[in-house]
């Protein structure tokens, strides 16, 4: 039976040669960026003690920020989420981000207390 309740959105997702060249250029730029960021992370991980001794907190937060930069480019460009409608973007990212921020907050908060209990009372 022919279904009439499905719109084949995918049939519309085509582009021509010209558009393709532009997209490929973008893909290679993002690749370059990801490679550079990963190289910086590894070099920093291996040599931060020689380069900037004692600044572990700064190095740690640099790692976190660089990771989020990488993740943003992967999700927005490689997974095309930046090209989708704003409402689907929000439905995917917002609930996840809200829940995860809470989870990270509560885990760090509670683990601090557990650490103190173990050091002081055991």
């Amino acid at each position: 039976m022919e279904r009439d309740d499905i719109i084949e959105y995918s049939l519309d997702a085509h582009h021509g040669e010209e558009e393709g060249r532009r997209i490929r250029r973008k893909i290679w730029m993002v690749t370059l960026l990801l490679a550079v960021v990963t190289t910086v992370e590894v070099a920093l991980g291996a040599y931060w003690k020689e380069w900037m001794p004692g600044s572990w907190h700064l190095v740690k937060w640099t790692f976190v920020v660089l990771t989020i930069v990488k993740a943003t480019y992967i999700v927005m460009t490689f997974m095309h989420l930046g090209d989708e409608r704003r409402n689907i973007r929000a439905i995917i990212l917002l609930p996840y981000a809200l829940f995860l921020l809470y989870l990270v907050f509560i885990a760090i908060w509670e683990s601090n207390y557990i650490h103190r209990v173990w050091t002081e009372f055991l």
Binding site: I6, I7, E8, Y9, S10, L11, D12, A13, H14, H15, G16, E17, E19, G20, I23, R24, I27, W28, T31, L34, A35, T38, T39, E41, V42, G45, A46, K60, F63, V64, L66, T67, K70, A71, I74, V75, T77, F78, M79, H80, D83, E84, R85, N87, I88, I92, P95, Y96, L100, L103, V104, A107, I108, E110, S111, N112, I114, H115, W118, T119
Partner: protein, 289 residues
Amino acid sequence: MAGEATKALSNDVLWGGGRSPFSISYGKMMMWFFLVSDALTFSGLLVSYGFARHSTTEAWPIGEEVFRALPFLHGSYPLVYVALMTAILIFSSVTMVLSVEAGHRMDKKGVIKWLFLTVIGGAFFVGSQAWEWSHFIHGGGGYITTPDGGKYWVHNDTHDTHDPANAPGFHLVKARPGHYLLPAEGEHAHVEGAQAKALWASRVAYIDGANMTRNEYGPPQYANFFFFITGFHGFHVFSGVVINLIVLLMVIRGVFHRRGHYEMVEKAGLYWHFVDLVWVFVFTFFYLL
């Protein structure tokens, strides 16, 4: 990207029924929902790792000290092997997105070429992970603990772990207090000859390599998290390689060309990029921090 999602539509049309207000196909939307739930699983694993590490009162091993070996080479190359694995996975992600782009131009040859390279990259990554697991499980020689609470790393020339005391070049190196993997500094740290054999004979425990109950790198939880997080991720990569291979065979048979669009490549691609995305986080939070 040209397509339905970027078309300007009035709100009446968008939310008026008879169409998806997201301008996205059912399959792609379900793949995204699956990825969100899978992302929550991985977040759970990484957050619980952070919890364990943050609350521990023992010393916790550092990635650059644990993972510093390369196949076929001796010496210390901190994090180089993991960085190579990361590079392989990122590049296989790039070939995947190029394959999706070729699909949008209905370029069957391009899809096949890039998807094939993606499968190869994924297979390389799984293989690298197998080597890393093997190296992690076998360890670097292990350590012994003595009745007075001392800890000594075991060394010999042939990397013998069954009977290390009788292997050539057997000696012990005192461990640095407060550190899991670093040796103590100075001349007195090296123990050789009869003294080393006496210490070996008086050992309370000999811990060598890693398993689920104990390991030479740190607290038992450290190895457990290593096995669970990289193992769960490795299983995702393996599944991804299988899925990509099946899609590749379907592309070669012309299934999607007849269908008029290569959305299946795009959906498999979403999953594959997600695997890369997770690795970016595992790399930072397990290996770097």
